[in-house]
Symmetry: C2
Subunit: 155 residues, 2 copies
DNA sequence: TTGGGTGCAAAGGCTTTGCATGTGA
DNA sequence: TCACATGCAAAGCCTTTGCACCCAA
């Protein structure tokens, strides 16, 4: 996604979504979504989002960030990622680019901490098999793969 | 695993592991491991473990439970499971039954909250492919599948 | 105008830590 | 004996909540 190209569309969509849900379009909400939209693939904590929004909008409160994050999550506009380090992280949803509505997967480097993402439909087979054998119908999944990234392995 | 059958072995192994690591064998540590060993497949929070241990050992403190849990996790004797509900859950590790050292996967029912587990090596293929294409070497993974279980679907 | 939104500070809730006492080796 | 372990309570830390003020519609 390029800045100033898809972004305005994204914002319009967001505004409409708010209105459709009886929510108000506020400067704070727009600012928070913008921060996340400008950083696809980054996984920001609430505090990090707070600090980034404060650059352009110093009056914002941390509570507003938490409330907005929750709202964005409810609206499926952002994805949660929990790395068990005490922070919950968020990134703009890529659902638009993923027909089946599934989340992408994360590769987490144990050495440098970088997070890489990838799309894969391999789990489709698995989910079909689970439904047939266990009667469990999968509607969503979260996959985290831990290991050593290319850069760290070459060092 | 049956009570009074594999359990003593498990305990002996545990005691040796403690000694090997310069740690002391205490009543509390044995009691906590026992509670977890007797409940394979259950996913207990620290508080739940605390309550269960208190039945046989009422003097134990919650801090000891937290400290022991951390130790058991470091020794790879228990697995962590985070369902993002504010609690971290623990279960006795099944690593012994899993040659490659990988964790099993979790099926989480969105209706009743029950957690089912399954073993699968389908990810092997995926991990090989990831190594070939991205140069990322996977050493561990965590897979959570959310959906509707058989019981809930039949209702 | 007016009900939802915001900012600030206080409260919550799980987990960790400090410290004096206890105990396994 | 003595270093490690435990219990209790206090502190930490991320997140949520209460409330008076504010502002989008």
């Amino acid at each position: 996604m390029k800045l100033g190209e898809d972004m305005p569309d994204n914002q319009e969509q967001f505004k409409n979504l708010l209105k459709q849900n009886g929510l108000k379009v506020t400067t704070q909400r727009i600012a928070i979504l913008e921060v996340l939209s400008c950083r696809p693939g980054e996984h920001l904590t609430a505090e990090e989002i707070y600090d980034l929004v404060k650059v352009k909008y110093p009056e914002i409160g941390l509570a507003t960030v938490y409330r907005t994050i929750q709202m964005l999550s409810d609206l499926d506009l952002i994805d949660k990622l929990n790395l068990d380090d005490g922070y919950v992280r968020y990134e703009i949803s890529r659902k638009n680019h993923d027909e089946n509505g599934h989340h992408h997967h994360h590769l987490i480097c144990l050495d440098c901490g970088n997070i890489y993402t990838f799309q894969d439909d391999l789990l489709e087979t698995l989910e079909t098999r689970i439904k047939e054998t266990l009667g469990f119908e999968v509607v969503d999944h979260e996959v985290k793969l831990y290991g050593h990234c290319k850069n760290c392995r070459e060092k």
